[in-house]
């Protein structure tokens, strides 16, 4: 069970080589196959996640949630997706057409790119990049531009307000997010995500870096635009923020991308703080899925409990609280490492 997916990959490569293909081309085909798998899994997973989110919300609000279509309403999201697919594609006449159209595509592409470096099991990262963490953060910040494109291209004041808010918010929270991860990097001595997982063989980093985990978690909620930090959408104030003018499948792409981001960031949190794919009895890929879902449940719990924070409070939380805390955390981590080294551990 542990090596199912690796075995399939090996078998596929050797089969392609035996057909007379050069090993390089076999690798390329394998890579394409891997990407197709990732995109497929993401899309199907989002269907499950939306259903799960609605069920969690229903549970928290003492109601049933979707329960008409299929067992426990499981096929509700499929019906919703079919509805979105068949809806008329409305592009308002005053929009900046090109930007309006490509914004959702960019958003989903950026979200999928995050998965390149995530180790989804032992030796199961698509690209085992030695600056994986750096790659993840830099690609993750690209989604800001997509939201700005959506808000600007829509030519709507609500959209623009939502977009400006998201830019301000995401840039501010990028800093504590990166700083909180520095502690982990300092201890493990690597930016490679697989190496970071290996370094947690004895002790998960959540125990060594509890402050960093909390800072990371808050900053990640803001990065993901999820409640209580869902400024760019802010339904009650900005109608739908940057997505006000979008409908049908274009809107669904944004939705898809947000959930894709959610899974990616939760998986990163599991990788960096919860020991990644390491765990007893079960195969490694199942462990990372379990841990990812655990973190996503916490995200959902937060979203359905808290009211939305105000924009200026949000900014001061980042600049006045999270950044100083994460800086102090870095200093303390460095001092701790020195002390341990001096004591000869």
């Amino acid at each position: 069970m542990e090596h199912w997916f690796l075995n399939i990959a090996h078998w596929l490569t050797s089969w392609l080589v035996s057909l007379g293909l050069a090993p390089v081309w076999a690798e390329v085909i394998l890579l394409v196959g891997q990407w197709t798998c990732i995109v497929g899994i993401i899309t199907l997973n989002v269907l499950v996640l939306i259903w799960l989110e609605r069920k969690v919300a229903g549970f928290m609000q003492q109601r049933l949630g979707p329960n008409r279509l299929g067992p426990y309403g499981f096929f509700q999201t499929i019906a919703d997706t079919l509805k979105l697919l068949t809806k008329e594609d409305i592009i308002p006449s005053q929009t900046d057409k090109l930007i309006f159209k490509i914004a959702p595509m960019f958003f989903i592409i950026v979200s999928v790119m995050l998965y390149a470096v995530l180790p989804m099991g032992q030796d199961m990262a698509v690209v085992n990049l030695n600056v994986g963490l750096f790659y993840f953060i830099s690609v993750g910040s690209l989604s800001t531009i997509c939201l700005l494109m959506a808000g600007w291209g829509s030519n709507n004041k609500w959209s623009l307000l939502g977009a400006m808010r998201s830019v301000a918010q995401m840039i501010s929270y990028e800093i504590p997010l990166a700083f909180s991860l520095l502690g982990v990097v300092m201890i493990s001595g690597s930016l490679n995500l697989s190496d970071i997982v290996q370094a947690q063989h004895n002790l998960w980093f959540i125990l060594l870096q509890p402050v960093a985990f909390i800072t990371f978690f808050i900053a990640a909620t803001a990065e993901l635009n999820r409640g209580p930090f869902d400024m760019p959408e802010a339904e009650q104030e900005l109608t739908a923020g940057a997505f006000t003018e979008y409908s049908g499948m274009r809107w669904a792409l944004f939705f898809l991308a947000e959930y894709t981001n959610l899974v990616a960031v939760s998986a990163l949190a599991a990788t960096l703080f919860l020991g990644g794919w390491q765990g007893p009895f079960l195969p490694s890929w199942l462990w990372i899925i379990l841990k990812t879902y655990l973190i996503m449940m916490v995200f959902m719990w937060l979203k359905w409990t808290f009211p939305r924070i105000r924009m200026d409070h949000l900014m001061s939380l980042s600049w006045k609280v999270l950044i100083p805390i994460s800086l102090v955390n870095i200093v303390l981590t460095g001092a701790g490492i020195e002390i341990f080294r001096w004591m000869g551990w």
Binding site: R63, K157, G227, P228, Q236, T305, P307, R308
Partner: protein
């Protein structure tokens, strides 16, 4: 080279958190509100004009449509105004039933206020908790009149029928659970750090300004003015009950929330006392089929509705139809302070301000 413009942003009439067809034109400098202009009239149904072409009794169902969230209170106000005009005696039992249902309406309205404030600030779960509890009041209304939202239960000279048997255990159970519900709201909504940050010191209304603008009801009491028509100018049988009038200190959004939650509790006490003292007997006095007040007689009657001072001004011309009906709608008056308390705040504060002023557009546009 770089200049900033003041831009206009239209909140409503189609907007998720304007509580109906309210249109607020906000002049914004970035996220800061320079001014807000309230445009009304999207829910105008010419209630006052309709009244002129209906008999006194026929207008009763329309009054429920004024403040549909506290259905019995506007009906009570109208019915009592006509009784004052005609000099009709109301049986004791009917008076107590009116108090019980009126206070239940007040609780229902305030519960929806707490929930809608929560969802306007982004906490969806808060709304559902409040709706869950409000549902029990709706069930009680259904028991008494067969209608949930627009009951039209009051009649000139009493109420249409006696309360059914199953109403009393239901209201007892509800009152027993009321304290727990309030604890829950305080834990989930009022006690939340983010909600407090968004409400404390936002939309401050000083007592002087509140009086100058004619603000009434919980909004006025949140500013620290002890003024409740149930005590200041008792109508019906309100002198017979003991209750407190909760007031706030700062007049901000948080005080407006806390005052309403405390009022829910006080209304519970009133209902308990009314249930204890309630006599048996008739529920409808002797009233002629067709009411014809004296010519030229006019009357103004005001009650403390869930939103504030709700007044009915009736003028008779001697026929079976009123010559003129005017409704002094508290929502309308209370909404007028929205620009005053929103100026200088953030865009998100406007939403909190609208929510805590608790307007019902059906009442304000009439």
């Amino acid at each position: 080279m770089f200049t900033t413009d003041i831009y206009t942003i239209n909140i409503g009439p189609q907007h998720p958190s304007t509580h109906g067809g309210l249109h607020v034109e906000a002049l914004m400098d970035g996220e800061v509100v320079k001014d807000a202009i309230v445009h009304l009239g999207y829910v105008h149904r010419s209630m006052e004009k309709i009244a002129e072409s209906r008999t006194y009794t026929q207008f009763i169902p329309y009054t429920s449509r004024l403040d549909y969230l506290a259905t019995h209170l506007p009906t009570l106000g109208y019915v009592q105004a006509v009784e004052k005009l005609m000099g009709v005696e109301v049986p004791e039992r009917a008076e107590y039933i009116r108090v019980i249902l009126g206070e239940l309406s007040r609780i229902a309205s305030h519960m929806l206020f707490v929930g809608s404030l929560a969802i306007d600030l982004g906490a969806t779960t808060g709304l559902i908790y409040c709706l869950r509890d409000r549902e029990r009041i709706m069930d009680m209304f259904e028991m008494s009149s067969g209608q949930r939202l627009l009951a039209s239960y009051m009649r000139i000279g009493g109420v249409i029928q006696d309360l059914p048997e199953e109403f009393f255990p239901a209201v007892d159970r509800f009152l027993n659970d009321l304290h727990g519900m309030i604890e829950e709201y305080n834990g989930l909504i009022t006690g939340n750090e983010i909600l407090q940050a968004r409400c404390k010191g936002i939309g401050i209304l000083s007592p002087e300004e509140a009086i100058a603008y004619g603000v009434t009801g919980p909004n006025l009491r949140a500013s620290g003015v002890l003024y409740d028509l149930r005590k200041a100018d008792p109508y019906g049988i309100y002198e017979r009950f003991e209750f407190e009038i909760p007031t706030g200190q700062h007049g901000d959004c948080l005080d407006r929330l806390i005052v309403r939650i405390k009022e829910i509790e006080q209304s519970g006490y009133i209902i308990r006392q009314a249930l204890k003292k309630m006599p048996t007997g008739e529920v409808r006095g002797k009233v002629p089929k067709l009411l014809k007040p004296e010519k030229g007689k006019e009357v103004y009657h005001r009650i403390e509705s869930a939103k504030g001072e709700l007044g009915f001004y009736l003028v008779s011309d001697g026929t079976e139809k009123p010559f003129r009906v005017h409704v002094r709608a508290p929502s309308f008056v209370n909404l007028m302070i929205l620009p005053l308390i929103s100026r200088g705040g953030k865009l998100q504060d406007i939403i909190a301000n609208i929510a805590t002023l608790d307007p019902v557009l059906g009442e304000s546009d009439r």
